[in-house]
């Protein structure tokens, strides 16, 4: 358990998955260089930001900012309206037992 020193803390972008700003910028480079693409769904898979308990409620806006800035710098055409990754249920952390169905198992 590291409480860390007094100074020099990381700048956290995604609190749930513990992703720093440095890692977000690196993930952008990796995505562009090795996959030759820059889109929100790939960015979230590579960085893992927005995939934690809160599903991006705090960090999605930052991810979109890095994505837009990175694309602009590389001269990739950018449509802000399309920088939204696909959503899937469940939208909130759910107890796994919620979907357990004893009646089906008894058959």
């Amino acid at each position: 358990m590291s409480e860390g020193g007094s100074r020099g803390h990381p700048a956290i972008v995604c609190r749930c998955m513990d992703i720093t700003e440095e890692e977000m910028l690196m993930a952008f480079k990796v995505m562009v260089r090795f996959l030759g693409t820059a889109d929100p769904d790939t960015y979230r898979r590579i960085s893992s930001a927005t995939t934690g308990y809160c599903q991006g409620r705090g960090c999605l806006q930052h991810m979109q900012r890095y994505l837009a800035r990175g694309m602009r710098e590389l001269g990739i055409s950018l449509d802000m309206d399309r920088l939204v990754p696909k959503k899937r249920p469940p939208l909130q952390p759910v107890p796994m037992g919620l979907f357990y169905n004893p009646e089906v198992l008894e058959e």
Binding site: M1, G4, H9, I12, R15, D18, M80, L91, P93, G97
Partner: protein, 475 residues
Amino acid sequence: MLKFDRGRPIVINFNGKPVKAFETETVAAALYASGVIKFGYSAERHRPRGPFCMIGKCSQCLMRVNGYPHVRTCITPVEDGMVVEYEEGHDAELPLPTKEMLVKREDLEYDAAIIGAGPAGLSAALEASGMGARVLVMDQSPVPGGQLVKQTHKFFGTKETFAGMRGFEIAKMLTDKLRDRENVDVMPSTQVIGYFRREGSLAAFRTDGLGKYTLLRIRAKSIIVATGAMERSLVFPGNDLPGVMGAGAAQTLMNVFGIRPADEPLIIGAGNVGVIVAYQAVQAGIKVKAVIDIAKKSAAYLVHSSKIRRMGIPILMRHTIREAYGKGRVEGATIYKVDDNFHPIKGSEVDIEVDGVWLAVGLTPSIEVLELMEAGIKFVPELGGYVPLRHRNLETTVPGVFVAGDASCIEEASTAMMEGRVAGIAAAMKAGLGGDEHVKRMKEAIKWLDEFRSSPHYRRIREGLFKVTLEGGAS
């Protein structure tokens, strides 16, 4: 001054030690009141963490409660003898509940299902139910009212939006009115988790007590998304230290629970939220060290900012934060000044000792449900970021799905209530109810909104709305 009725004193067990609490508190509030600001360790880096939003959105307050893992302590009411423990990251233990879980299922049908019981959702429910619609209002918080519950100041505006009343009084009045209506179900502690297009149903689950859940499948002729907004975070070194939180989170602790979240905080953002929270903090006996803002000019109403200047709180414009520092919690912050191009001015860095950093840097509309429904979404910074396209009657591009309040556009409680009325009437009409007088009533509400927004203060809002408002629908 406001008095707090905290209810009966009880005792909970936190990491093996007894902690005093009051029965009206949430687990997170009770812990904060007893001086606990570290709520556990982060998932991968095992960094100490504390809650950020206090309204059930950020997931930074998750703890093991009575053996159940990952419980959102900020929206879980305390109970006598409750056992609360730290969770230590993703890899610390298999998150199995140590107690039996009880799950029920319910299939529900309504004319209108409303997600969010804040000013928009409650107003929508009143209108729709007044037209005879069977209405469900869900909210993830155990107490309906949304962010009205922490608004202790008297509202400005007009009689239609209850000027002169305090926010929490409005919340109570709206909720009381709904309680008397047989065709309305207000369902707190209920979270919407999915939307399934082919069957047109919403999936939600209700917490009936720890370990007791009801999985809901809801079919409704119309749906109103009144999910509000989430406070923005800011990226700087140390931004995750316990004690760094949203200004609204601090406001919840102060105004809903009567707790001092810090003794000497720094507030970042000198807009209306920043200065109002600073004012309320001083009233609660807190010494606000400074309110800083990177902009040249404060965006707050002059009455508010002059008030806190008179109290001797410095408002430092063109200042921002370099880092927050401290061992295990915020102990200080380094701030610096910027020039006209927002570049740091050399030698302007100052360390200030603070035990809290409260972020009032804006809100982001909570539109996850609409994204899931694949509603048309547009990036409109004037309205707070990504917001749904909508007709004048607040119907989105998904037929039968409406939006109201901060989820449609970051504005204020009075406009949220009026938008709620528009959406409520439109949703009931979609369900086949109402007549000419309701069309008229909706037009009046739309007119009120247009007039309210016609002031020069709301020019940006008007420009933003122009970009997302579609032709058609009632106008």
